[in-house]
Amino acid sequence: MYDIIILGSGPAGLTAAIYASRAGLKFAVIEKEYLGTGQIAFAERVDNYPGFYGTDGYSLGEKLREHAETLGTEFIEGEVAALAKSGSVWNISLSDGGKLEAKAVIYALGASPRKLGIKGESEYLGRGVSYCALCDGAFFAGKTVAVIGGGDTALSDALYLSKTAEKVYLIHRRDTFRANKTLSDKVKAADNIELVLNAVPTEIAGGENAEIIIITHDGTSRAVAVSGIFVAVGTVPNTALVKGIAELDETGYIKAGEDCVTAAAGLFAAGDVRTKNVRQVITAAADGANAVISAGKYLDNYQ
């Protein structure tokens, strides 16, 4: 049996691994994706992590991973299917049938892109619908695309796509953007970005590939011809596995303070899954450290 099983290999999970290793604990990290480092890998540039000015998120993730590997971290590839406690033992079931036991669990499964939840969205995934402009933008060079959202990601996606696409519709449900002013100004100044405000997409349609997005605005709907639809409407915490085990807030985050202690004894929440004000690499890393310290105290009195 492990002292600690760390679920997730993003900055919170990897930092927890570093601290667990230095504490001499028997532990392992469960990673959903082979050699994955979580959402940070997708950040084009990270300028607010001390000591790494000007790095890209992928490289920073690799550095964190290398650090954890050097200290002897055991990584287990697998997707957690279920988490349950029997007596004082945590049972972790993986989707491939694997089972693990631990005295304590650090839950650091991060967040995933939020879906629109409209007709056609999943059907046309990879056939026009994308959650990654950097990955798939090039396929829409010279074509018309739509970006959905009003935050930093949506606006930087729109700008990135506007360099190669013929035209970009930026569809946002409000009339103001949440994104920072620099980005908003650039988007407003771009010739080939058309703002569609106070509007929500209600359906994606087409043939083999997506061809049309239906937009509803003031109760009326219209169809807009697009080849690509880039969804950037925020993220949702991956906390479905602890519903009924830990306490969640109304938006799905696990209720826990800076010590990462949750309502379930022996379960510690670290990183983007936890209720907190700032969700960045630095606060994820801080959580990883705090979670191991709290878990250590729990293990000292473990029976």
């Binding site: 994706e33 050699l35 994308s130 990654c132 950097l134 990955c135 090039a138 396929f139």
Partner: protein, 101 residues
């Protein structure tokens, strides 16, 4: 590591190959593509002689990308005797690639 090929080599390296060919349509700015890279290298070794794996950079080979209607990176297309027999859109686990081979 699978070799990168150009459109000029596609005919002989992929369509005319004697073994099945898995073509990885990738791009440099795509993180899921980077994640797939070590998995494809493992498969190349494990299936040596039975399967060929090639990489096609979609930033440079827009004609091939367009011809095969690739709209997501990575896209893996399996060719047998010059014909597409299977396709995976987006990054997947190693087991899911093995399933189509």
């Amino acid at each position: 590591m699978p070799a990168r090929i150009t459109a000029a080599e596609f005919e002989t390296e992929v369509l005319g190959a004697e073994v099945p060919v898995l073509a990885d349509f990738y791009s440099d700015s795509c993180i899921p593509c980077k994640r797939m890279s070590p998995i494809l290298s493992q498969l190349e070794t494990e299936y040596a002689g039975k399967l060929k794996i090639v990489k096609i950079n979609t930033n440079f080979e827009s004609d091939l990308t367009e011809k095969y209607g690739v709209l997501a990176a990575p896209t893996l297309i399996l060719f047998k005797n010059g014909e597409e027999v299977s396709r995976i859109r987006g990054a997947v686990k190693k087991d899911e690639i093995i399933k189509i081979l």
